[in-house]
Amino acid sequence: MRRILGDAVVRHVLSRLLLYLFAGLVLVFFALPLLWLVLTPFARTPSFRIPAPSFTLHNFRILLDNPFALRSIGNSLILAGGTALLAVVFAGTAAYALSRVRLPGRDALLYAILLLSSIVTGTAAMVPIFLMLFQLHLIDNRLALILVLTGGLLPSAMFILKDFMDTVPKSYEESARVFGASPLQILRHVVAPVVRPGLATIAVWAVVQVWGNFLLPYILLQQQTKQPAAVIMYTFYDEGGQPNFALISTFSLLYSVPVVAAYLLVNRRYGFRFQGGIKG
């Protein structure tokens, strides 16, 4: 009896140990790159390894001297901000219409758009998109790139926002209508503020998507002065293909700050929720 009990205890302890060991390994696996990201920019001899403790701002000097680095962060901000703005406006109005107007086959339409979008913005469509913009003389045009990026995000954004719009009681709008508000006023004064958490979610999601997008800007923007951070990072290698660690490490840190900041800001103000834009 006692031995059976003892066995159970041993087995329990062992399984716990294995679990902690596994969790520890997973933790190290994910933590090491982050540690590298935070420490290397300040290391005297930056490399692939986690640096020994040391502190210098010299690497940032190198970053500032690079003609494209800071400008590319600015470019990324323009692309991400523009796309987020357009995605919120277009997806918001479309989702509002889809939520309020009874169309036959409305849900089928939404799912079809959602399904096609993964094809349209995927790698398969790169060549046609490039050719189309080339014919239109829109290569190297930031607005054109923003439109292409927005187009890729719209279906999912519409899908998510329609859910938010569906939760806005009709009586809010009817009440405003009886007071004489126009549809646009209703959207601006009543619907948009009520679904604000949803709009914020879409905006941050759009920023993150664009921030990390490499292929589209790489293909559609050819002047280095217009390229965003994700593309410019690729140029921080010398002729021999050796990475310039001083540049890459500092740039990576700079590159990750805006996205984290945007997330924290929005999360704090609205909190991320995927349904129910109404309090009380």
Partner: protein, 354 residues
Amino acid sequence: MAAIELAQLEKTYPGGVRAVDGLSLTIADGEFFALLGPSGCGKTTLLRTIAGLEDATGGTLSIGERDVTRLAPGQRDVAMVFQDYALFPHMTVLDNIAYPLRIKRIARPARHERARQTGDGLELAELMARRPAELSGGQQQRVALARAVVAHPSAFLFDEPLSNLDARLRLSARTFLKRLQRELGVTTIFVTHDQAEALAMADRIAVMEAGRIRQVGTPREVFGRPANTFVANFIGSTPMNLLPATVTDHRLVLAAGSLPAPDHLADGTRVTVGIRPEYLDFSATAVPDALTGTVGIVEHLGTSSLVTLETEGGPVGVVVPEDDEPAAGAPGWAVPRPGRVLLYDTESGDLIPD
């Protein structure tokens, strides 16, 4: 200030459902008018059609001698209070009340000033900076009213304004709403399914069934002389006794007894006798011209009790004072008060005039 006139107003939904079926009705300037009926009778649809939230499919509607049948809701100069109040959750009470003025492009200081004045009148002064979620049901209702009042419309439309309040609050809100309407003198239509609410508040009531009006009248008329058995059944906190009878030798012969009949009814006419439990007197001893049976269930209503008399012709309700409550199982007689017996045509259900 405006009278509201409906002429053959019709609302048919695309599926063919006739929610409002050719209604003609005139609501006088300053009148407090109730649309009363069971759920699904079209009363809310009628109110929404008057507001312009539903398009009329036929007939005309005028407010203050202006034909508004085809006008957008915002151009009809009406204000509506919704059942759920529809306060904007992201705005403060002040901004909510001022919203109609914002639409009218009145500058912020001026509209806040007016909203504050209106709010003061409705005892909302302390709550101006709060959001709707921080208010009680009664406060939310007053904010919704203030938002309607501030617009100075020519008519108010209330959709079940009291149904979201708890029972006790509903009583005080009833008095409050009636006083407010009196003071403002604005023509008001309100929708309710609660007959007691309609009787208590309205100057006149329209009782609706299946998109049609079954009776229009003052609360006294509708309660005292329902025009047909539908209204008779619907109005009153205790249902009216409706009993089949045949005229024989100038008497109404019922299964439970016989009553004197008016002279103009021919022998053999089949009628439905309608008597409210409140208009029946209970007697423990045999009396002439009464309905007889044994005392069944006794329900306490506070100062009075509802006695169900089990008769040959089915149960008959009688309201007795609390002190005269009979014992269950005892024999009893129910005597109608003079002039309170109503006769309805058995076929059509319509009231037979005296």
